[in-house]
């Protein structure tokens, strides 16, 4: 069982995170839990509890930011990807929606595609780190849900993001 050096990397993530503006209030309806999924800790040595989503400094990081017109996950977000993958692996009944977003530049429909591409990149990375594909769902909002509405790079970089939203915790 390989675990990342979480402490150091979490500090990097916390520094890089730009969650200055309020996040979106409304959430899509909770996904149905797969009937066979047992809401118990399985592997990972029971490292996390359900409360870890609120208390663990890595799991509390739920936003992955991207460069302009890019969907590659930057190295500073690898730790965040890994801890969410570990949580999902430990709780097979847990479900997360990956909400992809783009900044306002470019057309709205193209940005729907770009948001989805970013959501898919996070989906693939979390799945590659051990979560089951059935635990993840990608939704793109394109440029429709900005967290910041000014027309400059300082604002745009906050909007180019994927939000990891848990719809079932266990």
């Amino acid at each position: 069982m390989k675990l990342p050096i979480r402490v150091i990397l979490t500090a990097v993530v916390a520094g890089a995170a730009l969650a200055a503006c309020a996040t979106r209030p409304t959430k899509p309806p909770a996904a149905e839990a797969a009937p066979q999924a047992a809401p118990q800790a399985q592997d990972n040595g029971g490292k996390y509890t359900v409360d870890s989503l609120d208390s663990d400094s890595c799991l509390r990081q739920r936003v992955v930011y991207f460069d302009f017109d890019k969907s590659e996950i930057k190295p500073e977000f690898q730790a965040q990807i890994a801890c969410h993958a570990a949580y999902l692996r430990q709780f097979p009944g847990a479900r997360a929606t990956l909400e992809g977003n783009a900044d306002e530049r470019g057309t709205r429909e193209y940005n729907l595609g770009l948001g989805e591409r970013r959501g898919n990149a996070v989906d693939s990375a979390i799945a590659a780190a051990g979560a089951s594909a059935s635990q993840l769902n990608v939704v793109s909002y394109g440029e429709e849900r900005p967290v910041c509405k000014e027309h400059n790079e300082g604002c745009w970089q906050k909007n180019r993001r994927v939000e990891i939203v848990y719809t079932a915790k266990q």
Binding site: D69, T107, Y110, S140, E144
Partner: protein, 443 residues
């Protein structure tokens, strides 16, 4: 001399009445603010004389001549004589003193009168003259209800436009657009329909979740659009008159960018349920879909060429988004834009030769028109974040969205780019304009 002074006093009186009328309209709250950005010296000069009212009751609220004049100015091909320069007020051809209008360098003059019918309807009679030839070009009448005189005025503007330019007018049409008002938890989105000059806005649908990409059916009776009200993007189709609507596609992933085929039987759309956004064609009779594009790129914003045989769409298969075309039955795609870093969101003119699009260079996004014959493109907007061009059905004008400060607003621009007019239709953001097809009577 006395006559001249009398005319001036009369002009001042008319002007005062007009100002009072404008203030009264402004208070009603749903009247768009209209702002002409720049005029054009090469436009054809035309005098549109205020139409007299001949009846016992109160004159109608609508200033028919002003509506016609605004239409003609907005399209960029005409320049109406400012009200302050109108010195005589003929209301029928026999009263026109041609030397006056020759002196004022007017090419055409439109006169008319509104006659109250016994039932209360208004019969609007109008005559168009060529000033230099002193020749009557039109002498017609349109009857409408008092409340429908803006429609009558737009139809007169269409007839005048067609008589002089030889091209069918498109003022008596409608526009669809999206508004969003409020912030945070209280954002409210709406799909609206209004007259082509922004008056008479009506709500088609409201939502707490984003709405985008309205598209007209070719008969003008329905709109397809994208709504997030189910959590994910879904495509709806709605009848404007009744409000009846159906979900056309709510697959996993993106359901976006609907576009009716010219015959109204198919909908081109973007779907990503198979993994990546690709262009599909849906038979509206049975909702069967056919995949037209393949691959890992973002393919979106399909638009039909007027002949219904070819679809133009946006794809980033070569890196950045560019426009491509593909047969409406699928096959290989051909790239059609080569100027600019970023070309997307096509609107195709009725002739199939001019394609308006969003052209991005660095951080600046403007509306440009591609001449498909030469491959050259020319910008026709001046903003930094302009989006979503939509041609009028006769290709004479376009609507687009501009971001100005914190707001999205609509602009109407003449196809030659010379006249831009901001339409301030509502508080909050106004965007995603879609110009309707020609209207038929009864719609």
């Amino acid at each position: 001399m006395t006559q001249r002074i009398f005319a001036k006093i009369f002009a001042a009186l008319v002007l005062m009445l007009t100002v009072v009328g404008a203030v009264a309209q402004g208070l009603s709250g749903d009247v768009p603010t209209i702002d002409i950005k720049n005029g054009t010296a090469s436009a054809t000069p035309i005098a549109v004389i205020p139409f007299a009212f001949e009846g016992a009751g109160l004159p109608p609220d609508t200033d028919v001549a002003a509506v016609i004049g605004n239409d003609l100015n907005r399209c960029g091909q005409f320049r109406t004589l400012p009200k302050s320069d109108i010195v005589e007020y003929p209301t029928r051809g026999s009263q026109i003193k041609f030397p006056t209008w020759n002196l004022l360098k007017q090419a055409y003059i439109l006169v008319g009168r509104q006659i109250e019918n016994p039932g209360g309807d208004i019969r609007v009679e109008f005559e168009l003259y060529d000033v230099a030839k002193q020749q009557q070009l039109l002498a017609l009448a349109i009857t409408g209800q008092r409340t429908g005189l803006r429609d009558v005025a737009h139809q007169i503007a269409d007839l005048v436009y067609e008589k002089i330019t030889g091209v069918r007018g498109a003022f008596w049409t409608r526009i669809a657009y999206i508004t969003s008002t409020g912030t945070g938890n209280n954002i409210q989105y709406a799909l609206m329909v209004a007259d082509s000059d922004g008056y008479n806005p009506q709500t088609v649908v409201r939502s707490r979740e984003p709405l985008l990409s309205p598209a007209w059916s070719p008969d003008g009776a329905k709109l397809a659009y994208v709504s997030f009200e189910r959590g994910n993007s879904s495509i709806y189709m709605q009848e404007i008159a009744t409000g009846a609507r159906e979900v056309v596609s709510a697959r996993k992933g993106i359901n976006g960018a609907p576009a009716f085929s010219p015959d109204g039987r198919k909908l081109a759309l973007t779907l990503s349920f198979a993994g990546h956004p690709n262009i599909y064609s849906m038979e509206l009779a049975d909702h069967q879909i056919t995949q037209l594009t393949r691959g890992y790129a973002i393919d979106t914003e399909p638009r039909w060429m007027p002949d219904g045989q070819t679809i133009v769409f946006t794809s980033d298969r070569s890196g950045k988004p560019q426009l491509y075309q593909i047969s409406a039955s699928g096959g290989a795609a051909t790239r059609i834009t080569f100027q600019g870093d970023y070309n997307a969101n096509a609107s195709i003119a009725w002739d199939g030769k001019h394609i308006a699009m969003v052209q991005g260079n660095g951080n600046v996004y403007r509306i440009a028109v591609l001449d498909k014959t030469t491959g050259d493109s020319k910008p026709i907007s001046v903003g930094n974040l302009d989006d979503h061009p939509s041609y009028a059905p006769n290709g004479s004008m376009l609507l687009y969205t501009a971001t100005e400060g914190p707001r999205d607003v609509l602009y109407a621009v003449s196809a030659n780019g010379r006249v831009r007019q901001r339409l301030v239709l509502a508080d909050g953001d106004v965007r995603e304009p879609a110009w309707s097809p020609y209207r038929q009577r009864g719609q």
